[in-house]
Amino acid sequence: MTQLLLFNVFNGLIIGAFYALMALGLSLILNLSGVINFAHGGFLAIGGYLAYTLIPYLGFWGALLVSPFLVAFIGIVIERVLIRRLYGRDPLYSLLLTFGLAFMIEDGTRFIWGAQSLPYQIPGWLAAPLSSEYFFLTGYRVFMMILVGAAVLGLFLILNHTRLGLRIRAGTLDLETVSVLGVNVRVLRNLNFGLGIYLAGLAGVLAVGMLGLEPTIGDNLIMPSFIAIIVGGLGSLPGTLVGGLLIGVASGVTSVFFPSASEAVIYVMMAAVLIVRPRGLLGEEGRF
């Protein structure tokens, strides 16, 4: 029983780490640009598929390194060509646009790579369990946790200790003032969008090693990511991180006792947060 519980807590942490990685990217874009990026799951899928295509040329590690940057580049181009036009307009329009993009990306990946789920090889030594007692502790899972942790740490280092991060944080609070102070807001939003999409790409590369490669892989991750943002508090990146881990663990623990309610529990948590604390756990008062 303890082992089962431990297994599910650990599993929940991993899933939660994915939610958090997705949600942090979504949150970055939402905070600075006011855009809910419905196509985030699509970018995640592109990350996985690009890694799949690159592995024969660059190997596992090369693909892991390069693919998220390629996805970020695609994101930057899409921001420049399409999404930039909608800043300052009703959020309705950016929602509809990214919604359409999500359709196009899903169908596009299906067109290029086929609808069948593709095999994704991870190095053998990573796939093996680390201990015979705790069979669920495979090298890949531990490795994923470390990498996600490093990515999150890196993100917060960038935000707190670089000029770009300072500007992103300032822009989240008051974009107009940042613009008046001589910062090129268009470039800032563009880079910020790229950063958010990079996180989606990274999540994609890591997720396919565990979940397999399908055009709809992002679909199951995007809703929990929204909920991670709502639970953690809109406008707060630490909140988003906490929210993601929290709902991951909660759904992992629930699956021990009530397997069929493991999805439902995260919605219950969202409802509870909205009733008791509508701004979210770490959200600021009066932001929305």
């Binding site: 509809l96 990306i105 899903e106 929305f288």
Partner: protein, 316 residues
């Protein structure tokens, strides 16, 4: 003479709707497409009650559409095989769910409201998907069908006669459209417009804004529930796709495409969207890409919709 223009438009729309089963086959289409348009138009108009006339962005209306559909389907399958009772249960379930969820979200605004409606909408998708014994899970609720209408003196065979079902759906659409038009013209409807135009000023005038948004939300979900029951009856079948988030997106794009500031806009948007979807999906396997592209193009080049464009022309 804007007054005359408006009633002429109303008359034209009703004339087209009343005669649709007779000219649709001649135009190379079929009666069922007309029924489709009427059902989706009702859903999009119901959404627009909130979106266009109250100025609140919901991206989760498919949930209440689907609840209406599931309520109807499961009532007819498991409880009692009467069309009208099934509809009643479906609408009540959808409205109740909206009324309960409403207080949790009406305090939120803008993108945050949209995000929460999406997330809450997914709850019902998961329930429909996972509760296999009752809802059939992914396979949906099948092996039932709508029943002929028993009106006491006579009965109308809406089951086997597509034209009769079209007129039944149109009658429901007409009642709902009239009710919405009536509500929008009432002081209550004017208050909603005031909230849309300037929420802060409305609040200063002493209008309980949150309560009005809640009411508008419940009314909107009530009518989208009616559309959902018609949807289930139309297909004699319902599956979880009826309440998935992409369905909500379809409603929103219909309202935007037709023109969300006008009463009839969503009807026109629904007609264009469905005819196009019908055409594209019968010609290519990659219809999703085209629909996605369609979304992008509308947002970039056509944000005010068909009626918005017409009106902008005549005003300038």
């Amino acid at each position: 003479m804007p007054k005359l223009d408006k009633s002429a438009g109303d008359i034209l729309i009703w004339l087209l709707l009343m005669t649709a089963p007779y000219w649709l086959p001649a135009a190379g289409s079929y009666v069922e497409l007309g029924t489709h348009v009427v059902v989706y138009a009702l859903a999009a108009m119901a959404l627009n009650f909130l979106l266009g006339h109250t100025g609140v962005l919901s991206f989760g209306h498919a949930a209440y559409f689907g609840l209406g559909a599931y309520g109807t389907a499961m009532t007819i399958k498991y409880l009692y095989s009467g069309t009208l009772l099934g509809m009643l249960v479906g609408v009540v379930v959808a409205t109740l769910a909206a009324a309960i969820i409403g207080p949790m979200i009406v305090r939120l605004r803008g993108v945050y409201f949209a995000m929460c409606t999406i997330a809450f909408g997914q709850v019902f998708y998961f329930i429909a998907f996972q509760w296999r014994t009752a809802t059939g899970g992914d396979d949906g609720v099948s092996a039932w069908h709508r029943m002929p209408l028993d009106l006491g003196i006579t009965s109308v065979d809406i089951l086997n006669n597509p034209k009769a079902f079209y007129f039944f759906a149109l009658a429901m659409f007409g009642i709902c459209a009239a009710a919405m038009a009536f509500l929008l013209r009432s002081p209550f409807g004017r208050t909603l417009l005031a909230i849309r135009e300037n929420e802060r000023r409305a609040r200063f005038l002493g209008i309980p804004v949150d309560r009005h948004i809640w009411m508008s939300w419940v009314i909107s979900c009530f009518f989208v529930g009616v559309a959902g029951t018609l949807f289930a009856l139309m297909n004699n079948f319902v599956d979880p796709r009826a309440l998935r988030w992409d369905q909500s997106g379809n409603f929103v794009i219909m309202a935007v495409l037709g023109g969300m500031r006008s009463f009839w806009g969503p009807l026109i948007g629904a007609a264009i969207f469905l005819v196009l979807q019908d055409y594209i999906s019968s010609h290519t396997e990659n219809w999703m890409s085209f629909i996605g592209l369609f979304f992008v193009l509308i947002v970039l080049f056509f944000p005010r919709g068909v009626l918005g464009l017409v009106r902008g022309r005549s005003a300038s």
